[in-house]
Structure formats: C-alpha cells, structure tokens
Symmetry: C2
C-alpha cells in the first residue's frame, strides 16, 4: 500500500450526509484502496455511481462487508441491530467495525453482543454535520476542525483503535477517547437537547392561530431562523437519537424545564435583576467557544 | 436639501449596535444634514467621536433633541420613560419621534402619554441585529434585506409615517405597517421566545456537575453553538424586552412548554412515530424561510 493508504477496502453502510462526505474524503486523499458503498435503495446507489464517490456499490449488506478491513455504519441508529445480524457471519478475519452514530452506549450493547470475537468494534462519533441529508449533500471538508469521539470498550485491540483514530485525524478532526456512557451525557446537552428544543419551538410557531406562517417566516431574522436550520435536520436520524439516548435526554430535559420555569417566574413577577444576571452569565460560555475556535 | 437628504437634523438617543449602524448608514448615504449622538456615558461619546460616525455628540438628552426634525431612541426599552420626560419640553415643533425597540405597544403607551401634541410618534422596529453590542459593533449594512415594522397609532400624520418608512427603505429594508399589539405577539414567537430558550439552555449546560464546561465548548458543533450565539446578546436590552412584553411572552412560553412536555412523553414511551411526524413537519417551515430569502 502507498503511504497514505490506511485501509485496503472500506465498506460504508449507508451513504447519506456523513457516509458520502467520508467517501469523498477517502477518495480525495487516497486513504483506502477501495471504497464499497451500501444503501437500502437502488436509487441511492445509482446516485452514488452518478456522483462517482465510491469504487463499487452493493445493495446487499453482507456482500458489501465481504473482504473489507474497515466497515463503517453510517445509517440511522435504528438500523444497527438488523445490520449487525446481517453482517456478523460475513466479516473478514480481524476486520474493524465502526460507526458514526450520535449515541454510543447502545452501539457497544447492540453490536458488541452479536459481532464475532475475531473483529474489533471501535464506535466513533464525528461531531460535525449540516441540516442537509443524502449522498449529494456530503463534502470532503465536513469534518475539518471539529472533534471526533471514539468510545471503544476497555479490552479493545489498541492497533484497531489507533487505525480508526488515524482515519479521523486525516479528515482534519481532533480525536478524543471517552467512556460511551459519558459521551451520551455530554452529547445530550451539546447536541440532542438543542435539536429537541429547536424542533419544538418551530412546531409551536407552526401551530399558532393568531400569527400567520408568513409572518413567522418574514420576521425570522429576530432569532427564530437559527432554530429552523437545526429543526430541518434528518427526521429519521433524530428520531433514533432520542429513542436510543432516552435516559440522558430526559435528565437534561428535566433540568432545562426546571430552569425555564424559574425564568418564566422571573418574567411574570418582573424580576429584572434575576433576568439580567442570567443573561450576563451566558455570555461567558460564548466567549469560551470563540476562544476554543469552535464559532 | 440635496436629493438624498431626508432629514435636516437627526438625533440618535443611544448609540449601540443599532444606533451606530444607523449613524454609519445615514452618514454614508447622506440621508441627513446633521447627526447628533447622545449616550449616558462620556466614554461612549468619546468612542463615537473617535469612530467619526456622528457630526456632534451631546451628553444631555434635552440638548441632543433640540432642533432635530427626527429623534430616534436607540436605547433599551427601560430607558424610554425617563427619556420621554427629559425631552418632551425640548422637541422642535413638528418633530418626528421614533425608536428601534423590540416591543411596540409599550412605546405608544409610555411615550404617547407624555409627548406634546405638536410632535409625531412613529414607533419602528428594524428586525435585524447581531450578538455584539456597543458603537464599535455597528455597520451600515446591518439592516439590508431584512424587514422593518412600523406601528404608528391610527391618527398619526401620514407624512411623518412616510418619512420614517423612507429612511428604513433607504437602509435596504422592506417595511411593513402593523398594529402594535400584533407586532408584540409575532415577535414574541419569532424573536423573544427563541432568545429566552437560548439563554436558558446555555444556563442549564453551565450548571451541570457531570459534564465539564470544556466538554460543552469542545462539542458545541453538534447544535449547541447556534444557541450560544443568540445567548450572547445584550443582557440589558433583553431584560427590558421580557419585562415589557410579558403577556405575549408568557403566552408563547406556555404553548412551548406544553408542546415540549408532549415530546418528552413521546421520548419516555419510545413513541417513534410521534417523534418522526413532528421532526418531518418542521422541515417545511425551513423551506419557507429559504424560499423567502431570509436564510
């Protein structure tokens, strides 16, 4: 293999925003000898061929993983159990199985239970995305400058972890190792709760009888616009995130509602000092994000 | 007056993000013969002189409005009663008094009650902004392409309304006339509630014992980042918005919480269909905003 080549054959199970961005990146930088893309619909695979972002396509997931030294699941979390069952007897000896899902404890639980002992399970979460979906929405620079979190179990082969880490490093990501349960708690607040809130407020606005849809759209520049962008994210992916990170999301949601009730009370009783103190405190977090180069 | 000149002398009461953006625009396009800037602190006025964005400055608000044919209040809503009392006996005959505040019924109520009958009150709300504050944060193009809402009372002089409308039109804004109470309801959902929610979630994240501040900042790309931008907005301005649009905000907040409780229940009971339906519906609003050119 040439110097840049990290894997001989990479199988991407699911080729939407993340999968197709990864395919573009691997191809552009020559990180694998061969990329095979799998999707559940022939229309998606036809699109992949048209875009020229994979070396081959396979509608059957067992065919897709055959001979691959790296398999990355890039489909919604709800598809994992069926994928695990379909690939477990077809994986190459010593293959690495990874994913890009937004919830991680369930990956170790669901896939860890069915995969054969000769493969290495290295769950990953590249924390990057846009509100667009599908193979045509991807781009090779999607990951650049963001963080990727790996959550391998304690006994995972170190070389397998290193190889997955190196792939994401080459994608321009900073890579962290984290306990899967802790990952799910952190992401519940930095990603899952914000999405739920955004979906919710856009729904609330949509239901108003006294304010027309056209008014909501015209005056969205006042703050609402940022929420609509988030609330346009892929519905299936996000449904599965909430179904699979229930406990952490409910915990964060409970705290959020408690705090919101306190703010509501401050508004009702015209407690300007409480509002001012709260609004001042939140500025510091923004400064932290700007200083960390994430803005 | 030259063709572009709309007013002989414009007095800007308050010279933060909005006031200084307006000053820059008026100066750049020659829309007024003279701009006088007022602020409560000498340090701010020194900054205005240094930036060269006004023709003169006045620390005394009564001096600032003397001889002005247009007075625009660009300070937080909480300052309006004191400003009204301070300027009422010093306004030129036939002067127009306007503002840029995010709540409008209170403007007609507070200022309408104290201003002399020889002046014309034309409240305005240019729906544009950033999370930055102060005279150095302004820029002439801030308003370009957004909407401005005027909420004059029913008996307001039509020429005065036309002249204020023309000023904002020259700023690149599309201008709407609206009933003040209805404005406050529309903005409660498109702007005030989103800000409250953003402030709240950033506060919730800041209070977590199990997730560190550095983790929140590192993984903000997952959705949280957009909320921190909104939650960095000026605390005094926003405190005053909530204190002065209490009823409409509490009404929207009640609906929001009700909807969020339904989503929470769907998560707790793993009702994937309910989640999927909600997340699909919100995509349509985003498409509406993109088609309206507001994204």
């Amino acid at each position: 293999m040439a110097d840049d080549v990290l894997f001989e054959r990479v199988a991407l199970i699911g080729i939407g925003l993340i999968g197709s961005s990864l395919a573009r990146l691997i191809k552009r930088d020559g990180l694998a000898g061969h990329i095979v893309a799998n999707a559940r619909s022939q229309a998606t695979l036809d699109k992949v061929v048209e875009l020229g972002i994979a070396d081959s396509v396979a509608i059957n997931v067992a065919d897709a993983v055959a001979g691959a030294d790296l398999v990355i699941i890039c489909s919604p979390l709800g598809t994992y159990p069926a994928i695990g069952a379909a690939i477990k007897d077809h994986l190459a000896d010593g293959a690495i199985v990874s994913d890009v899902g937004s919830v991680k404890a369930m990956v170790l639980r669901e896939l860890g239970a069915v995969l054969p002992s000769h493969v290495h399970l290295v769950p990953a979460h590249p924390v990057a995305g846009t509100e667009h979906s599908g193979p045509e929405a991807g781009f090779a620079d999607l990951f650049d400058g963001h963080w990727c979190i790996l959550t391998p179990g304690p006994d995972t082969d170190a070389t397998a972890v290193y190889r997955v880490k190196e792939l994401w490093r080459r994608a321009g990501m900073k890579v962290d190792l984290m306990d899967a349960e802790h990952h799910d708690l952190v992401l519940a607040v930095t990603s899952h709760l914000p999405h739920l809130i955004a979906y919710n407020i856009v729904g609330t606005a949509d239901d108003l009888e006294t304010v027309t849809k056209s008014e909501v759209i015209k005056y969205a520049a006042g703050g609402f616009r940022d929420f609509t962008r988030i609330a346009a994210s892929d519905p299936v992916m996000w449904r599965d995130v909430f179904l699979n990170n229930r406990e952490a999301v409910l915990e964060m949601l409970g705290r959020f509602t408690e705090d919101l009730t306190a703010l509501q009370r401050a508004i009702r009783w015209s407690d300007g000092d409480a509002l001012h103190e709260m609004f001042t405190r939140t500025r510091a977090i923004r400064r932290g994000i700007i200083e960390a180069g994430q803005a």
